[in-house]
Symmetry: C2
Subunit: 302 residues, 2 copies
Amino acid sequence: MRHLTTFRYIDAVVKAGSIRGAAESLAITSTALNRRILAIEDELGVPIFERLPHGVRLSSAGELLIHHIRNQMSDMERVRSQIADLSGVRRGHVSIACSQALLPYFLPMEISLYRKEHPNVTFGVHVRDREAAERALVDHTADIAIVFEPVRLADFMTLMRVFQPVHAVMGHGHPLASKEVLRLSDCLSYPVALPTAPYGVRHLIDMAMLTAAARVEPVIESDSFEFLRNHAVAENILTFQIPIGLSEQTSTGDLVARPLDRRDVPAGVLYMGQLKGRTLPVAAARFAAQLSASMAAKFEVS
Amino acid sequence: MRHLTTFRYIDAVVKAGSIRGAAESLAITSTALNRRILAIEDELGVPIFERLPHGVRLSSAGELLIHHIRNQMSDMERVRSQIADLSGVRRGHVSIACSQALLPYFLPMEISLYRKEHPNVTFGVHVRDREAAERALVDHTADIAIVFEPVRLADFMTLMRVFQPVHAVMGHGHPLASKEVLRLSDCLSYPVALPTAPYGVRHLIDMAMLTAAARVEPVIESDSFEFLRNHAVAENILTFQIPIGLSEQTSTGDLVARPLDRRDVPAGVLYMGQLKGRTLPVAAARFAAQLSASMAAKFEVS
DNA sequence: CAGGCCGCTGCAAAAAATGCAGCAGCAGGA
DNA sequence: TCCTGCTGCTGCATTTTTTGCAGCGGCCTG
């Protein structure tokens, strides 16, 4: 949209931290960009950026403005998609910030299902930890966030919440593979691989260890769930995962997943939500509705 | 703001109902205006206006867009005023849609009080009946609406609500002037002047008459409260008014105001509010806060 | 102290918006 | 029935705005 050019430019400058840098990413001259900024500062009567030796930084007036700009841009996007909607075709773009656990099965399935109905809708999937996901909502980088055990929920509006009991994941031939439900104490006798990040699954396990006054030294630590899963098969050791990260046919494949007894490790909660106070574009809203339904069907609603 | 020019133009076309008409009011050629509209329709891929033999009308896509446009314009205004705010001077404009009863004393007092603190804030006061007031909020013609006994409240967010018991107003020498509280039956023996409009005070009186199975034939009908008040003195007849339309020193002047017994005529409710979901500009928000305080101090909160 | 990065400005070229004149289409009145 | 008056729209010349190029001075870093 032409009339938003200046706004897009400003947004780029904020992101780049310098006019020249932004100009390059926008494929225009720094002159043009600089002039637009001077022009809008002239209109507002106040500088939007503080000039630093190595670039620019938002002034407090700029903070106010960039907030408006981002609202404006995503709102325009929503209107465009509503307009496209009533002319028949459902178009649009849905941007999702989510934890790793959504990547292997859940999101691919849901997205392909949605795109079967609406092939003109495009998707962006960004792996973010819990705080970054919320930040992505705030700066409109993402429409929807799906996070496990979020910390602060200031700007987050929950759309759906399901329990995710921690599962132990292991290779087919592991001694524990035969039991239906595992106690935490069962696991302690075997080598385990754990995610590094001090939140999510790792956090729940750590807390459980604390209350059980037990200790576990992970043989392997990784920030990639995919690696942990693969390694569990390769070396035949234990790792932990939440069910949304596991295929429904897991038990028939190479992997076996067994829930931990909820007396030992309480079930985590997976949150799906959007930015508080924002009206989502049609496509994003519909997809969120689909996710809600699907999560509610597959898991226990919290 | 330059980047909103197209939006301002579109808004003008919507208001004027024709491109040429809007062009004239905008002091540009119809050519330029026409081209801008074609351009944005091209960008959206959908016509914004239906072309009629005698002008244009919004298409359904246009309805969506104009809504967005008005939100954007007033939101930009708010940001501007916030920015102006942090540079020291409080500037801004507050637009009020209200019933006649606010005109004689209440609003002039409140506005002058506010302007004593913030001389750079300007005001617009528009007399609107209840429906028109709500419409003014929706199309952002007004920031604040103050209405008596509003009908539907779909887009109206109430900020303050006070009881306004109906008062009988009469000249100093009227026989009823000596009583402190009047029964409706007291009034029926004397000639009365009533407002025409079938809402507000008139509505309450009519309803009371209905339940009392009584009838009153007004000697004078007028849609101007000011006229009714003046005429009450001139001819020494009764009329009715709500307290916010009466000076606090009424009883010491030419006029005497006496409340009607609330068993006969229930007290009406005066609503002050804004458009639901909108963030008011700083100046309007502060003024609304002052109004709230003042109304709460003077009247019984509903 | 030189090199590199920064934001900013004068001037000319390119691009966009505007105005002028004139077109066709439709409605209502003589 | 034609005619007048209104509508939105288009080709072309003009004006205004935006952009790019080159170069300036300032600041930090190595």
